[in-house]
Symmetry: C4
């Protein structure tokens, strides 16, 4: 039987899937994982399924090689290696969102860098770098399909909170599910706002590095506030 | 009585109409057809009706000349010739969507080409060509109203998955209803994203031809995932 | 007691208010009127009320001077003169929509002309002219508050289907309520699409005058199709 | 027990929170306050909570130093000083909205000034100035966290109806809750519309100062109309 910590985490992962689908940060694709609370070398991730439809029963447990444990033979997401390889090298990370949200992709296809345009997105710091799978792996279907590609993505992520993926999407990581959801939500928001600020044609002032760092520390302290709202919007799992 | 294959196809065409209306790819206009599963020279298409209101009882059967069969005298769509002429020359096509969706029309009116900006729209390949009815038919009401105009559109489509129509809309074709819906949905999404990428003012990197081809092959393999979601969103027909 | 024609018209005006509010063409402001079916010198228009809340009981009857008849002392819209003065000079007009919809205002504030970018908006013809109240009336609160201002707006409208109002909104007119609603809806849609086409930065091809005329004739013939959908979306009044 | 005036004000503040959340002017953050009707040196503001979830029981009473009165020890918003310091210096202000709405932030990050592009936003007058917390306080987390910062913001506001906050959001003030909500709603609308007008690339004509002043006076007279609609949209508290 699941421990209280694991039961809570399962509920949070299901809620995260539904919240991000509700707000259009995930559509029929994308996924949310969380590191197992008792086994740092394992993580929870849905079987291959549209995020909005994910329930507790759909969650599978994987080791860091992204192999399902306990003989679970259900069809997993092709890109589960994103999660395994990041958990392997980022001990501080306990939750990961992978998304193709519509305001972020333009920055993942452009030479213009995503940068924090307001305090809500201080976690973007100096601006996420862009992982281009073509550099290490040549011509592919753009997916992160194996450990090597996952490790290259994790290396590009480094110690950032977010990394973009050229022609594909982005990954947001955090120490908890609510903060990972917060980061995915405000990566999308910030991208939409920065797009508009650029289109005005004047000079744009971004948060400087220290403002971003201080704002991020503050926002982590109030991340329960939107999380309570978002949970209410999608109902209990 | 309808065979199981035909009954399933009828349900899929109704669902497709409702899904595409739900997501704004169709409004009061546009239509979805499917080739008859037992008669390759016939196709199913609603009577003249807003897509969101289409039920199984509204579907009519047409021959490839776009004449209704079985003496069905209900009012058909004026542009049914789009469907007949494409089915005539594209044996691989079993479903067709015609849409005026709002992010695609700008590309149908502009000299800037729609191109795949992320892996979800690999089916756009090198970028759909634009059918301009004025070239072959002079000044018209812009509709594809007869076999000759339908055949010219089918010729412009060639072996592409999508063709744009100047000052009008686009057509997406596929080997099944779920994949045709997928292509219509992500043609709209890609157009919206490409628009934003261009507006950022930097250099935009599109999928190259091989990336697009590989991504398309992968996505066809997972097209059931969004289809299950979309069906759930609109309820059973 | 209302004749069947009048009863139907009342229902249509109420539906029109609710449809245009549902789709964001009207918000808390704007209005819809119709010429009385038995008295060409009278028109129906709600008392001062947000369009979404309008019911049959809220409709008032006005003469062409925009005075309420039958001693109806309820508070009318300040801008009822828009309607009276257009009905006075346009015998072909039987319904009028006044809106501040968000994609149209940019054209009402810009030197760039709104033009038909696809066949759905052939009624825009060569592009609506812009009424600037400042030219005839100097500095005002921008509202059309009296007969003289209404007559100047009607003169700018001329024989067009739509006229924009600088720093304010637009007016769409037609021979019936469903067609006036159609024109208001697709004026908004066309504006949004033209905006995006321009932002792509390439050459934009608009419908030429003959294409616009022919497309408009066709669309008037199928305006029942979206009207049935829109009625269904808002329920019966 | 609350006086009728206080009871009505409490209901209005709750409604305002829900309305602004419904229309996306507030998300999980932002807040609405009102000056106490019987104690000009006190104001009502929710405890730290997402606006959409605010009920009458969540409202706290603060003095102008932004200290909770009556020993209320619940967790307040960090930025309550925005409210206290504006009420201190603006006797005409009885309601305040603080928002991060998505169309306004671009102007809060850009050298391009927000200006009234149509009559609905005459209250923007010559264009709100932008408070940059960095000027007086150096590198911060961007929040208005104490009396000094609140006073600096109030000084930048001066006698305007709206002030922007660089890299953060904006504040709208008014003589009543409905008018403050109106101003917050149309600050967002105007920003979205001005953005599009600029992107058209032509010359943009804004309201001149006298037009803005006259339009504002008119709109204050009809602000009940949208307020009744907005209340209906969110249901009774």
């Amino acid at each position: 039987m699941a421990s209280p910590a694991l039961a809570q985490l399962i509920e949070d992962v299901v809620t995260a899937n539904r919240v991000l689908a509700h707000y259009g940060v995930l559509d029929g694709f994308g996924h949310v994982s969380a590191r197992h609370p008792e086994r740092a070398d394992r993580f929870l991730l849905s079987r291959s399924l549209a995020p909005e439809l994910v329930t507790a029963a759909d969650l599978m447990t994987f080791d860091l090689d992204a192999n399902a444990v306990d003989g679970d033979a259900r069809k997993p997401y092709l890109e589960r290696f994103i999660h395994g390889e990041i958990y392997r090298v980022r001990a501080d990370v306990h939750a990961i969102v992978h998304s193709h949200s519509p305001s972020v992709i333009p920055f993942a296809a452009s030479s213009v860098r995503l940068r924090p345009v307001y305090h809500m997105s201080g976690f973007l710091s100096g601006g996420p770098s862009v992982f281009d799978i073509r550099k290490g792996f040549g011509c592919t279907d753009m997916l992160v399909r194996n450990r090597e590609q996952g490790a290259a993505l994790a290396a590009e992520l480094g110690d950032q909170g977010v990394v973009l993926m050229r022609g594909h999407g982005f990954v947001a990581v955090a120490g908890s599910v609510p903060v990972a959801v917060y980061r995915a939500m405000y990566t999308e928001q910030n991208a939409a706002i920065q797009q508009k600020a650029i289109a005005l044609g004047g000079a744009v002032t971004y948060l400087d590095l220290d403002e971003a760092r201080l704002a991020e520390a503050t926002n982590r302290g109030v991340s329960d506030r939107p999380w309570e709202l978002w949970k209410r919007k999608v109902g209990s799992p």
